[in-house]
């Protein structure tokens, strides 16, 4: 739709930093010590940024995207059974095929399977809390899992995270690399969340909220939520002089 393009090889459209969190956000205290204070140096897309690791289906296991079964030991994990699905697109609205999507999350009681998680919530012996898949030819991904619980975290003394899934996504180029979090429509904790509120733009925050998708639910079995992910698009080479660059 926006000019002719090969699958790879065009420069990325510059990132709209206004649609991202501020590196230093007073409401999220740790960022005050860890966010860079100086502006990043802007570069033209170099070959290192344009390229990135390519993953193959043979590298993943058949149950890697089924968190209900991929760590089940003596039974099934406890909690609401859900499907999370959607597409990975680029900023030109094209599906990104064969890209790696990885997720991790707390269990139904808001507890992570992690040696550093000190929350009182209970570890579920049948739930690992991570999964991964490659997008199909239409850019679609799907996971089956347990809806994570909310949990408190140390920021302000009564800060709670809304239920959320962590997502890590690769595009075709390393400059598209993204880690983010997905929330669930209707969760009253969303508007109080110090992490989500690091994003100043309300419309941008809303793009991290998955919608209930009854039509994709499995009747009498599993509810579904839908969430699409957009990675950076590429600049259509409509008319261009050769420029010096890197």
């Amino acid at each position: 739709m926006l000019g002719v393009r090969l699958m790879t090889g065009d420069d990325f459209i510059q990132r709209d930093l206004a649609a991202h969190p501020l590196p230093i956000s007073p409401g999220y205290k740790t960022s005050m010590f860890r966010g860079p204070t100086r502006p990043p140096l802007s570069l033209k897309t170099s070959m290192a940024d344009l390229t990135g690791p390519v993953f193959g289906a043979e590298e993943l296991g058949a149950r890697d995207n089924d968190l209900i079964l991929n760590y089940a030991k003596e039974g099934l994990p406890i909690g609401e059974r859900i499907i999370i699905h959607g597409r990975v697109l680029d900023g030109n609205a094209r599906p990104l095929r064969g890209v790696l999507v990885e997720i991790w999350q707390a269990n139904a009681s808001g507890k992570y399977r992690h040696r550093n998680d000190g929350y009182i919530g209970t570890v579920d012996p049948n739930f690992g809390g991570c999964g991964r898949c490659l997008t199909d030819r239409d850019g679609r991904y799907v996971f089956r899992t347990i809806k994570p619980g909310p949990y408190p975290f140390r920021n302000k003394i009564n800060d709670w995270r809304p239920a959320h899934m962590h997502f890590s996504v690769f595009g075709h180029g390393f400059a598209q690399r993204l880690i983010t979090q997905m929330y669930f429509e209707g969760d009253p904790l969303i508007r109080h969340d110090s992490i989500l509120n690091t994003i100043p733009d309300e419309a941008a925050r809303d793009r991290l909220v998955a919608r209930l998708d009854l039509a994709a639910s499995a009747p009498l079995d599993t509810l579904a939520y839908r969430w699409d992910i957009v990675l950076r698009g590429t600049r259509a080479t409509v008319f261009e002089n050769k420029l010096q660059g890197n």
Binding site: L2, F12, H20, P23, S31, P36, L41, A48, C130
Partner: protein, 210 residues
């Protein structure tokens, strides 16, 4: 669900911090459990892979000077011929197909050290304008308190001539900031380079927006 703008472009999904438990999803063994048959991110250096074997290592410091022990680090680099293992790098010439060029690890929970055993990348041809870039490795870090993944570039101390003419290094106005991107040979270990990253402060590393 995502509304295109008037020209049909879609806005990028916003970033969020990877949080303190990023290990679960990306390097679950460090979180303390085994789940996948194949753990991604280990750099395989089989004997047929060409190039000088090196180790790169370092620590990440916050604005108070404290070491960060819960970060995740990824690298992406060219092979010893300066070629990336990706279809977009499609120019003719030799390349090292078995070398993937991507690695992922966590900073140690005790010491805060990260390290990769890899090969030294070759010089990469510039996309425009001829010539080549000094050998470099992209480094991407995410962690609790980092709201948008931070991208930087590692260059090598012993490539002084190539570094001096590298267009990216030359873009950095202040010479002392340029030095934040130069990995130093570790004393007493000829194959190791040290690259410390400072998120804030006088030695703040140069990060890139590409």
């Amino acid at each position: 669900m995502i509304t295109p703008d008037a020209l049909g472009y879609l806005p990028e999904t916003p970033s969020q911090t990877a949080g303190p438990f990023v290990h679960i999803g990306l390097i679950p063994r460090q979180a303390g459990f085994d789940i996948f048959d194949n753990n991604l991110g280990t750099i395989t250096l089989s004997p047929e892979i060409k190039g000088e074997r090196i180790r790169i290592e370092g620590r990440i410091f916050d604005g108070t000077g404290a070491v960060i022990r819960d970060a995740l680090v990824e690298i992406w680099q060219a092979d010893s011929f300066g070629r990336f293992n990706h279809p977009a790098d499609d120019a003719p010439g030799p390349r090292d197909a078995p070398f993937r060029g991507w690695g992922r690890t966590g900073t140690d929970f005790e010491t805060g050290t990260w390290s990769f055993a890899t090969i030294k990348p070759g010089r990469v041809a510039r996309r425009h304008g001829g010539g080549s870039l000094a050998p470099h490795i992209l480094i991407w870090i995410v962690a609790r308190g980092i709201n948008l993944g931070l991208l930087t570039r590692l260059y090598f101390e012993d490539e002084a001539a190539a570094n001096a003419e590298d267009p990216v290094l030359r873009l950095i106005e202040q010479p002392e900031r340029r030095r934040t991107l130069i990995a130093r040979r570790a004393p007493g270990d000829g194959n190791a380079y040290v690259f410390n990253i400072h998120l804030q402060g006088a030695e703040e590393t140069v990060f890139f927006d590409v």
